[in-house]
């Protein structure tokens, strides 16, 4: 129980110093609405108070000078399994475990996320599983896991990619687990109805059983979303069938191989999160030549909004700004590319109301960049999380060591 207590404590600590922050004079890219050449952003109590030209505050606000800089909302990393020592449990069906217990704040992944401007991270279990467990939404700044936490249950991770055995066996196990949870829910409803009056004997065994199935039951009731990983077009078919059959609130994490099933997603407004490689290479069986499928274009043609992920060990694909530039390279417009790493990504992980753009009332996760995000030369000058300055490049120990203080 003390987890909740600590979380409350942190918020209280932050609000105590209810100091305003004014980011003045930068080129503002709100990601929703037009870009403003020289404008200010006022932040109060961790939320964006106002965005416009020539804002003034009473004396107590701390001012961030953004003249000649670019101000934009923090990048949103819509799906990753980094930052933990193992991405999956060995047992395929583990709905009761949570990523929260695997997060290791001291990993360089979080430090790099802060330095690269990935201010909201959806951390989910990996794909080598059938039901992987629940994920969390984190911020890359904080002392202990509770500081990093933004929402402790981002949803249940399912995978349709058959790692062991074939697809029918994989699906049979998945359906068995879902049906078992469904029957468990019906039995509990029937029991709770039956014992409306009179005392209830505490049944430890039932409690244990309940704890293992509670998250799955919450998913079946639609309280938490199901993140379904698909690797082939057939997996997308099965995912749509599962969503229909069990009435799930679902998000699809799509690998490149599913491009043939993109037209199926038209008009379903089901959040889609695309793998980090935007060019899917396959050999045409008839000609033997390698054919490159342009996944962003195919998704755009199917009218599907999507978010993108990163590949931490690759030279370029580990930065979300590089992924946005790659979307432009793939033929998308500047707005669509920036949206895919900010507001669309926030919608995809269910935080569209609070994150992803500089609008009044949203959380104050703001980046001050040295250059335009798509220019390829941008560094994060200042990173503001929840209205507080969390990162300053001038004080970044590693960069000053490598580039020297002058950079």
């Amino acid at each position: 129980m003390n987890l909740k207590l600590i979380a409350v404590l942190c918020v209280v600590a932050a609000a105590a110093c209810g100091q305003d922050v004014l980011i003045r004079g930068g080129k503002v890219i709100p990601c929703k609405g037009a870009e403003l050449a020289e404008a200010d952003v006022l932040v109060r109590n961790g939320r964006i108070e106002a965005v416009g030209k020539g804002l003034t505050t009473d004396g107590s606000a701390s001012v961030v000078d953004a003249r000649g800089r670019v101000v934009m909302p923090g990048f949103v990393l819509a799906h990753t399994s980094e930052g933990m020592d193992r991405t999956n449990e060995m047992v395929p069906v583990t709905p009761y475990i949570s990523v929260l217990d695997g997060v290791d704040p001291s990993r360089p992944f979080f430090e790099d996320c802060l330095r690269d401007g990935h201010l909201t991270i959806a951390l989910m279990p990996g794909e080598r599983t059938i039901i992987g467990g629940t994920g969390v939404i984190l911020r890359p700044h904080g002392l202990v896991v509770e500081d990093l936490l933004q929402s402790d249950n981002a949803g249940m991770k399912l995978s349709l990619i058959p790692s062991a055995g074939n697809r029918a066996a994989h699906l049979a196990k998945l359906r068995a687990a879902l049906d078992d949870a469904k029957q468990h829910m019906e039995r509990k409803q029937a029991e709770s109805g039956a014992t409306a009056s009179g005392n209830v004997r505490f049944d430890l065994e039932a409690f244990q059983l309940d704890r293992r199935k509670r998250e799955l039951a919450r998913m079946l009731r639609g309280e938490i979303p199901a993140w379904i990983a698909c690797g082939t077009p057939a997996d997308v078919d099965q995912a749509l069938r599962l969503v229909e059959e069990y009435k799930l609130k679902a998000r699809l994490v799509l690998g490149g191989g599913t491009w043939r099933a993109f037209p199926l997603l038209t008009g379903k407004n089901m959040p889609v999160i695309l793998d980090s490689e935007f060019e899917f290479r396959e050999t045409d069986p008839e000609t033997g030549e390698e054919v490159i499928r342009n996944l962003p274009q195919l998704l755009k043609k199917a009218g599907v909004k999507f978010a993108v992920t990163t590949a931490p060990s690759s030279l370029g694909r580990r930065y979300l700004w590089y992924q946005a530039a790659s979307l432009v390279r793939a033929g998308l417009s500047r707005e669509e590319a920036l949206a895919a790493v900010t507001c669309d990504a926030a919608d995809a992980i269910g935080l569209g109301a609070r994150k992803g753009s500089l609008e009044v009332g949203k959380d104050a996760d703001i980046l001050v960049l040295t250059d335009d995000p798509l220019s390829g030369r941008a560094w994060v000058e200042v990173g503001i999380i929840g209205g507080k300055v969390a990162y300053e490049r001038s004080k970044d120990p590693r960069l000053t060591e490598i580039f020297g203080a002058g950079k």
Partner: protein, 438 residues
């Protein structure tokens, strides 16, 4: 039993719901062509009217209002070929181990290349089988159409049959594990299915009893309340409301076996050696079922018994490539000719044929002709024989009213020399062959 039937209907129509996104036109008239009723007869001038997926009428000068007309003058309409066991429409994860039962769940979606290749050799629909994972009891096959325009594979029959294997288990240095216990395993599968049916029947009975008791106890409570409403009793421990009996879970594997026992789908047994074939025959006659024998290496030595039992033999290549312990020692290349001479009906399959692709059923039939089988018998095997092997005897294999509308339209009578048909007809959808898929 009622609920059993209900679940059977829900799943296929769910499948059909997704498959029939673009509902094709309801009526189609193929006018101006010649029709070859079945592969034994010469083509004669006639039109074909198709409604839904069935042939409505075959005759001269048919007029059909509201039907889409497809002009096939100068072309010959013949029944489409059928492959009695095919692995081509499965997605690649199907070949990894795993306790999988249903081929219908393993079909490759969205990739029409395989189905286009089937069309190019005149194959209209195929029995999709899963490899026997070295066990006596195999997975549940399904019948799938080779219509490339269907968004995902159109499954014509979801539980289309169960393959058993007698003497097909391999292992050890001799390569063959013999057949002890195989026949028992098949018997056990039948017994389990019967127990499964009983459990449903028992549940039916319990439900009726429960409802009756429930109705009785409600009547008793109502009368009790009207007699003494004001007396406050000591709240004795409330008697737990009885829960309705829980319905047993439907298992499609048992459903498939039940369909075999109810003669809806044939009993398919793979056997190659003489003794294994005999064991299969005995099993079929004991259960009173018609046998469909797959493989049949030394079947020619039991040609008379097979003919007497009206069994159907599904043959692979005449000269199998690669050394496999399954090949029977006295296997003769002209096994097809000898079986045909004895009056056994034949069919052809490309499943498990090393060196042959999934669209090789017509080529395998042709190579049997090269070993002495008559061409008419080979063509019959690819149409009527295959229908028998799938348990569709009355429903396909020829161009007659009431039969399924799976037709191939070619410039001449279909021959096995590798000539591609011009068009394929799937119900009311006409597909031109030979175009390279995107």
């Amino acid at each position: 039993m009622r609920s059993l039937v209900l679940t059977l209907l829900v799943l296929p129509c769910l499948q059909a719901l997704i498959a029939a996104q673009s509902a094709p036109a309801q009526r189609l008239l193929l006018s101006g062509g010649h029709v070859q009723v079945n592969t034994a007869e010469a083509p004669r001038r006639a039109d074909v009217l198709i409604v839904g997926d069935r042939i409505e009428a075959v005759g001269e000068g048919l007029k059909a209002e509201g039907a889409e007309v497809c002009d096939v003058t100068g072309l010959v309409i013949a029944p489409a070929f059928v492959d009695a066991a095919n692995l081509g429409l499965l997605d690649e994860s199907a070949f990894r181990g795993g306790a999988s039962d249903l081929a219908a769940d393993m079909l490759e979606a969205h990739d029409s290349l395989a189905r286009e290749r089937l069309n190019r050799v005149g194959l209209g629909f195929v029995y999709v089988d899963l490899p026997l994972m070295n066990a006596a009891r195999g997975p549940v096959g399904c019948v799938a159409s080779a219509d490339p325009t269907a968004a995902n594979p159109a499954v014509l029959e979801r539980l289309a049959g169960l393959s058993f294997g007698i003497g097909t288990r391999q292992g050890g240095e001799a390569g063959r594990l013999g057949r002890s216990g195989d026949a028992a395993a098949v018997g056990e599968a039948f017994a389990a299915a019967r127990r499964y049916r009983k459990s449903f029947e028992k549940h039916e009975k319990d439900l009726k009893e429960f409802e009756a008791k429930q109705a009785k106890s409600e009547k008793a409570e109502k009368s009790e309340k009207t007699e003494k409403p004001e007396k406050t009793e000591k709240p004795e421990k409330p008697e737990k409301k009885p829960l309705p009996p829980q319905q047993p879970k439907t298992e499609e594997a048992h459903e498939a076996v039940l369909r075999v026992l109810d003669h809806k789908t044939p009993l398919r047994i793979e056997a190659h050696w003489r003794e294994d074939i005999e064991a299969a025959l005995d099993l079929a006659t004991k259960q009173g079922l018609r046998l469909v024998l797959l493989g049949g290496g030394e079947a020619d030595q039991l040609a008379d018994k097979l003919a007497a039992a009206k069994a159907c033999v599904v043959l692979g290549p005449a000269q199998p490539i690669g050394m496999s312990p399954l090949q029977a020692p006295q296997r003769r290349a002209n096994v097809a000719a000898l079986l045909d001479a004895a009056g056994v009906s034949l069919a052809f399959m490309s499943a498990g044929a090393q060196g042959y692709r999934y669209d090789s059923a017509p080529l395998i039939a042709a190579l049997h002709v090269a070993e002495g089988l008559s061409e008419a018998a080979a063509l019959r095997g690819l149409t009527l024989g295959a229908a028998e092997a799938l348990g569709w005897s009355g429903r396909s294999g020829s161009v007659e009213a009431g039969r399924m509308a799976f037709l191939q339209i070619g410039s001449a009578k279909p021959s096995l020399s590798g000539g591609a048909p011009v068009k394929m007809v799937f119900g009311t959808r006409v597909v031109t062959c030979g175009k390279k898929s995107s």
